[in-house]
Symmetry: C2
Subunit: 252 residues, 2 copies
């Protein structure tokens, strides 16, 4: 892994803050924290053994990345992107990752190739395991690729948008997600190694596009937008039974 630099890359890593950021990011993309989940500063602080100040700062960072929604005087929640936002995120991601493979084609070093194939092997191995893990690994493959451009900016944007896509996947996709995706990863590596720029870009484009269209199913009759629409079908049941609250108090 490349987490060993003296100057930790992107933006800032005030240590405690960035530790919390990483933990939350991971929890979010592994769907341990679902979209809409509440993130009170105190609870976070308590969990991570820091004060609210730090937890707050971390939330601010994650909000800047679009993973968390921050409304004034309200509890922060895991972001709940609209369907349209999800589609936009994928569109952006496609362009960014085309750029990645364009820069990378034919320029991978041997150790890099080894690292990539090792990662894909890991993806294969995790296939039977938890769904969340395989999603995370699939995402990390793309981020790993971005890292190899050694362009900090590109890394940052690809990471961010990939995480966002991950988030939307947990909202709009069906259970099964990345079956043949792993093979597509291999195909991309092959094209990169061969130095076939056009092919690599096309493969990446198709790969992401297929993931997007497979995941983001219906544009819906009327622009499936807010969670109000999503909750509509459940409204009937809800009227008959109490709304289940999060066991937040159960913590202590």
């Amino acid at each position: 892994m490349a987490g060993r630099d003296r100057t930790s890359k992107t933006a800032e890593s005030t240590d405690k803050v960035s530790v919390i950021c990483r933990a939350l990011r991971r929890a979010i993309i592994e769907q341990a924290l679902e979209p809409g989940a509440k993130l009170p500063e105190d609870s976070l602080g308590e969990r991570f053994g820091v004060s609210r100040t730090i937890a707050r700062h971390a939330l601010g960072q994650l909000a800047a990345e679009g993973l968390v929604e921050l409304r004034r005087n309200r509890i922060a929640v895991v972001a709940t992107p609209s369907w349209q936002e999800a589609r936009d995120a994928f569109d952006i991601r496609i362009e960014l990752e085309r750029l990645v493979v364009r820069q990378l084609a034919g320029k991978l070093t041997k150790p890099q190739i080894a690292e990539l194939t090792a990662h894909v092997d890991a993806e294969d191995r995790a296939r039977d395991g938890a769904d969340a893990v395989s999603i995370r690994l699939a995402t990390e493959f793309h981020i790993l690729l971005a890292h190899m451009t050694s362009s900090p900016i590109l890394v940052r944007y690809v990471s961010e948008v990939a995480y966002r896509c991950c988030l939307t996947l947990s909202l709009y996709s069906r259970p099964h997600s990345s079956e043949c995706a792993i093979n597509e990863h291999r195909a991309i590596i092959a094209a990169l190694v061969k130095g076939d720029v056009a092919k690599a870009m096309e493969l990446m484009h198709h790969h992401l596009d297929s993931v997007a269209t497979r995941a983001l199913v219906a544009p819906s009759p009327q622009r499936g937008r807010d969670l109000l629409d999503i909750l509509a079908p459940y409204a009937d049941e809800a009227s008959g039974e109490k709304v289940v609250k999060l066991p937040k108090a159960a913590r202590r």
Copy 2:
């Protein structure tokens, strides 16, 4: 203005924090704050009439956007992107803004067209004024365009990367910057109105590329570069280590 969204999107606007962010952003892109300028928390807090906590939070946000560099236990400074980072930023920007015009071509409403032309007129008027102002206006034209996609994510990324480019312009460009750029803006609007997607994308691409190549002059020589960066490669020898790091240099 085009304040169409109910909630002022983009990450968070905790008021005080975002006010400071906006102020600093503007100061940075207008070059009132040059790259490398120190930004002590207390001073900021005093200037804006808030506590360090808030100033700190603002710096965190700006760092997340890449406008500020935050090193642990050290005074925050305005970011000083390397030449390569500048070039990378422009590459990303090109792809993002191509996406913008692709989405916008033929879909502009009359008031939007009016707003755009009004903005370009303002650019024209500011031509004789301060250089900083015309740079800011030029940048804001692109952001305005992004806004019209009404895709919050796209807005965010285009804004960020445009600001970063602005920043690099102040580092590596010569005094005169955007002469015919204004006409190029007009041409882009025309293509968008006509609905000529390919033309608009091509114009935008060329526009940004020419700005980049005109601005980012020297591929190798060190202009505003840090002495430390320049000496970095020699440091390895000095420390007694072997010089075995080819991959880094291989990138460019």
